[in-house]
């Protein structure tokens, strides 16, 4: 037991930009876990994308040693993602911890994700240490923020360390508090093995690697392990810890955080939330809370150049190895040809996948309008789940449609209440509650359709509150709703890749904008192209791309045929990036242009 008393497993939770990653970096520096040479801003965010966007997507645990009172402690910091799309990942990493550092910005105070994360931590029985960050800023008001933490969250903040992660002020107090206030793990080393998988990643040499917290027992190379959800067994090849690079160890014992590799080929077999035990000597109770990851947003992904289908397929297969949350299946579109219907955790996740496909795999993509999951109840009493507007059953066979709902919490200075209420109403939200946190901030709760929240709500919120409002949401069941399928007809034919689900009240306006955008982005062609937006058979908007009148190279200057040829070749090359739909050629930009349409247009 002595060993476990010198271990602390903890995470840092915070609202976005409150300084979570910077504080983590300081802790790592302070404990000299990384040499100066390896120092790189935001050490834990190893993906380029994470560093660029200033967000954490994948979880990275890091083991640090810290000497206090002559005792060397082992501190395992488990990083957590900072975006609502990844709530499930946050909750998994919290389960691996015994305590949490709650970072609150001394200038901003408690924000929506502060609350959401604290609630998650409390649900997981974590001890929480509040830390007030950014005290070096002139506008810092640490005493007010302490009071807020006590009033709004109900945590004792009287001893909260006042720090500046950026300037390295008072970091030691944080480390001391971790040791003094957070409980050590209390598993049984001699009990059957019980490990929680809180994340996994794919390594080209080791295969899928599980990030685990050992609850009870011991695991080492050679242990025959078993995934309790899937029942699959493997021979453990290597265990180790992170500093923050993976480093093999002899064994992992109760209370330890580290990794297990077992030549697992597919990451889907290392489902986060699952419990690893020893085959033949199984733990009686697996860890609680395992759920299969559900996609929240779906979108079609197609290669801009149809001949690159196999490249896209390979890229998705590889991404899937490292991202268990990505779902995809083949899709065939009349307009876009062969591609994939992909499911994502949210819009950010979707953007990240698209960006990774484009950057890491050098692909040009066309994506279709994102869709949520609808429950379509048919007149015969059956229900179908629709994630692609093209699969909507015939209208006559539909009794009603239900759409997914969320409960959204928004925290804002009071002067923006009016503008935000307006926004929430536009987003078909239902007002639930409003509370003053203090004179300067208000917490508002709305129930709103996921489809409205997921697409451009956050941008709207930022612009209407000048960036001061914060928000978080959680899924909140389904609700009956008057959804319709909006189709776009090009030259009289429905172009499947442009169809989308929308609430009837918004269909008219959206149809008009769609038609306008397409008109702007479809170049003039030899023949006139009527663009129509329609619900059912009813046309609600119409635009026309006039026929091309002039496309000629005037002068053959001094016999310079090559110049002319180059121009024609460019034109021919451009055609490859066009999608032939009937007699209409549609450039990828046209498909992409309609994705950017928000209600604010």
């Amino acid at each position: 037991m002595d060993r476990q008393k010198r271990i602390r497993n903890f995470c840092i939770i915070a609202h976005i930009d409150h300084g979570k990653s910077t504080l983590a970096d300081r802790l790592i520096e302070m404990t000299e876990t990384v040499s100066d040479r390896e120092l790189q801003e935001q050490l834990l965010d190893s993906m380029d994308l994470e560093r660029e966007r200033g967000i954490t997507i994948k979880l990275t645990p890091v083991k640090m040693y810290y000497n206090k009172g002559g005792v060397e402690y082992e501190l395992n910091l488990i990083d957590t993602p900072g975006h609502v799309d990844f709530t499930y990942e946050v909750s998994r990493s919290l389960k691996a911890c015994d305590g949490a550092i709650l970072v609150v910005d001394a200038t901003q105070g408690v924000e929506a994700q502060t609350l959401a994360n604290v609630y998650l931590a409390i649900e997981n029985d974590l001890e929480i240490i509040p830390v007030i960050n950014k005290i070096d800023l002139p506008s810092a008001r640490p005493e007010d923020v302490k009071k807020e933490i006590e009033d709004v969250i109900g945590l004792d903040a009287s001893d909260a360390p006042l720090v500046s992660a950026k300037e390295g002020i008072n970091i030691q107090a944080v480390l001391d508090a971790v040791i003094d206030k957070l409980p050590p793990p209390s598993g049984k080393e001699d009990a059957p093995l019980k490990c929680l998988i809180f994340d996994s990643y794919y390594d080209n040499y080791k295969g899928a690697v599980c990030l685990v917290r050992v609850i009870d027992g011991e695991v080492k190379a050679g242990t025959k392990i078993k995934m309790m959800a899937s029942g699959r067994t493997y021979d453990c090849v290597e265990v180790g810890t992170f500093s923050p690079q993976p480093k093999p160890a002899k064994s992992l014992r109760a209370g330890d955080v580290g990794y297990i590799s077992a030549s697992i080929k597919v990451i889907a077999e290392t489902a986060p939330g699952d419990t690893i035990t020893e085959a033949g000597r199984e733990t009686e109770r697996p860890c609680e809370g395992y759920k299969e990851i559900q996609s929240v947003v779906y979108s079609g992904i197609f290669p801009a150049d149809g001949s690159h289908y196999n490249d896209l397929k390979d890229a998705l297969e590889k991404l899937k190895l490292s991202d268990a949350a990505l779902h995809y299946e083949p899709e065939v579109s009349a307009a876009l040809g062969f591609g994939f219907r992909c499911g994502f955790l949210g819009l950010l996740h979707m953007e990240i996948i698209q960006e990774r496909l484009e950057r890491e795999y050098n692909l040009d993509l066309i994506t279709t309008s994102p869709s949520v999951t609808y429950h379509v109840h048919k007149t015969d009493g059956s229900m179908v789940v629709v994630t692609n507007p093209c699969n909507l059953p015939p209208v006559t066979s539909i009794s009603y449609i239900e759409e997914p709902m969320v409960k959204a919490d928004i925290i804002t200075p009071p002067e923006y209440i009016g503008a935000i209420m307006e926004l929430c109403q536009e987003k078909r939200g239902t007002f639930l509650d409003m509370q003053y946190i203090d004179a300067r901030r208000v917490r508002m709760s709305y129930r709103s359709p996921l489809a409205e929240i997921v697409f451009d709500f956050f941008d709207g919120l930022k612009s209407r509150s000048r960036g001061y409002a914060s928000f978080d949401y959680e899924l909140d069941g389904y609700q009956k709703s008057d959804m319709v399928k909006l189709d776009v007809l090009l030259n009289g034919e429905i172009c499947d890749a442009l169809s989308l689900m929308i609430h009837r009240d918004k269909a008219q306006a959206r149809g008009r904008i769609l038609a306008e955008k397409l008109k702007e982005n479809i170049p003039r062609q030899l023949f006139e192209i009527p663009i129509q937006a329609a619900i059912g058979g009813k046309i609600i908007a119409r635009e026309t791309v006039k026929a091309l009148r002039k496309d000629v190279l005037a002068k053959c200057y001094g016999g310079d045929v090559t110049r002319k040829k180059k121009l024609l070749e460019k034109q021919k090359e451009g055609k490859k990036r066009m999608r032939q739909f009937g007699s209409v050629e549609i450039p990828s930009e046209a498909f992409m242009s309609i994705l950017k349409i928000g209600d604010d247009n």
Binding site: L548, V552, K555, G559, D560
Partner: protein, 365 residues
């Protein structure tokens, strides 16, 4: 003997027109003399044996801006080195501003038999707007002199210019036709990178230009001018520009001078665009472009032939490239029925197709 066309580039002007992106620099005596030394050197190096010269074309720039002696020396050298057909068409591009009786006389004496005036517009306001240094009256004077000495005169007009409309173009056409000249070229303005028009953000109204073009075609047809190529109109077949036909039929041509292009024995050659390199250069001023592959040659053939009203000779195309164009492209041809026709075993653009030919040609490549 193989027929050959010769192009000679004279890259000097008194002022740069606002739409021009061709290789040209401001006229100065020193530059001109160095340039002609290099030009003569280049011509002297060329092996004319086995060729019969059917056309010579002095283009620019403004060939009329240099002293006539310069032009004459070039012609003399070519005559000395090459076998020139008795019917050879010898053209010089002239700016009305730098044309004179003296030049007309010496050009004629030297065997030049075709004058191509860069008129562009007959509206003085428009001429000024695009940086031309002549007026309509100056052109009238130049044209009347030219008519005394030459029986094959061409004028270039541009459509899509700033300030131009249907009425002004009609005036242009009426005036030019009434002068009794034999050939008219009508070029659609393309705002090229780096030109003054591009810098000031001028955009061509494509619909208006298309209307102007079709008005011009109709008007000229009524006056007996036949469109034998998308931009070129002549009174009778004999006034068609033979020189340009060499380009369109992929005949052999050699270009001398700065930035000139050659196509000889299936090799494309491009001269340097750098004045310094050119006047100092020996052979490094020429850059061999890759010889077109057979498939590229076929594409070039289609691309160039469809510019002309004669169109593409399907039989000889199929024989030459071992193809069966009509059946290969039957789907496209059906779709493009409004724009293309097959007549006398030749593939030709219909009237509706001429001004959108790129889009059509691209589908046939």
């Amino acid at each position: 003997m193989k027929p050959l066309a010769i192009y000679v580039h004279i890259p000097f002007c008194k002022a740069r027109c606002y739409y021009c992106s061709f290789v040209s620099s401001l006229y100065s005596l020193d530059r001109v003399s160095k340039y002609f030394d290099a030009l003569l050197r280049e011509i002297d190096l060329f092996d004319f044996s086995g060729f019969v010269v059917n056309s010579i074309y002095f283009g620019g720039g403004t060939p009329s801006v240099v002293k006539q002696e310069n032009i004459l020396t070039v012609l003399d050298l070519i005559k000395k080195k090459a076998f020139i057909s008795a019917e050879a068409e010898i053209t010089i591009e002239c700016n009305p501003e730098s044309f004179s009786r003296e030049k007309a006389m010496s050009f004629k004496k030297a065997g030049i038999n075709r004058i191509s005036f860069g008129l562009q517009s007959t509206d003085d306001k428009i001429l000024k707007r695009i940086g031309r240094i002549h007026t309509y009256n100056v052109f009238l004077k130049a044209c009347s002199i030219a008519k005394e000495y030459f029986s094959n005169i061409s004028a270039d007009l541009i459509i899509g210019l700033p300030g131009q409309d249907k009425r002004s173009l009609k005036t242009d056409l009426e005036r030019v036709v009434s002068l009794g000249i034999e050939h008219i070229s009508i070029y659609g303005l393309k705002v090229e990178e780096g030109t003054l028009l591009q810098k000031e953000g001028y955009k061509v109204d494509e619909d208006l230009t298309a209307d102007l073009y079709s008005n011009a075609v109709d008007y000229l047809a009524g006056k007996g001018f036949i469109r034998y190529e998308v931009s070129n109109f002549s009174k009778e077949d004999k006034y068609r520009s033979r020189h340009n036909f060499t380009y369109w039929n992929r005949g052999d041509y050699v270009g001398f001078g700065l930035s000139a292009h050659s196509f000889i024995n299936n090799y494309r050659i491009e001269n340097t665009c750098s004045y310094i390199d050119y006047i100092e250069g020996e052979t490094e001023c020429k850059r061999l472009l890759i010889s077109p592959l057979e498939s590229e040659a076929a594409e070039e053939t289609i691309m160039l032939a469809l510019r002309t009203s004669d169109g593409l000779d399907i039989k000889s195309f199929n024989e030459k490239f071992n193809r069966d164009l009509l059946s290969e492209k039957s789907g496209q041809l059906k779709q493009l029925d409004k724009f293309l026709k097959v007549e006398d075993n030749r593939l030709k653009l219909k009237d509706d197709g001429f001004y959108v030919m790129n889009e059509i040609i691209v589908r046939l490549l």
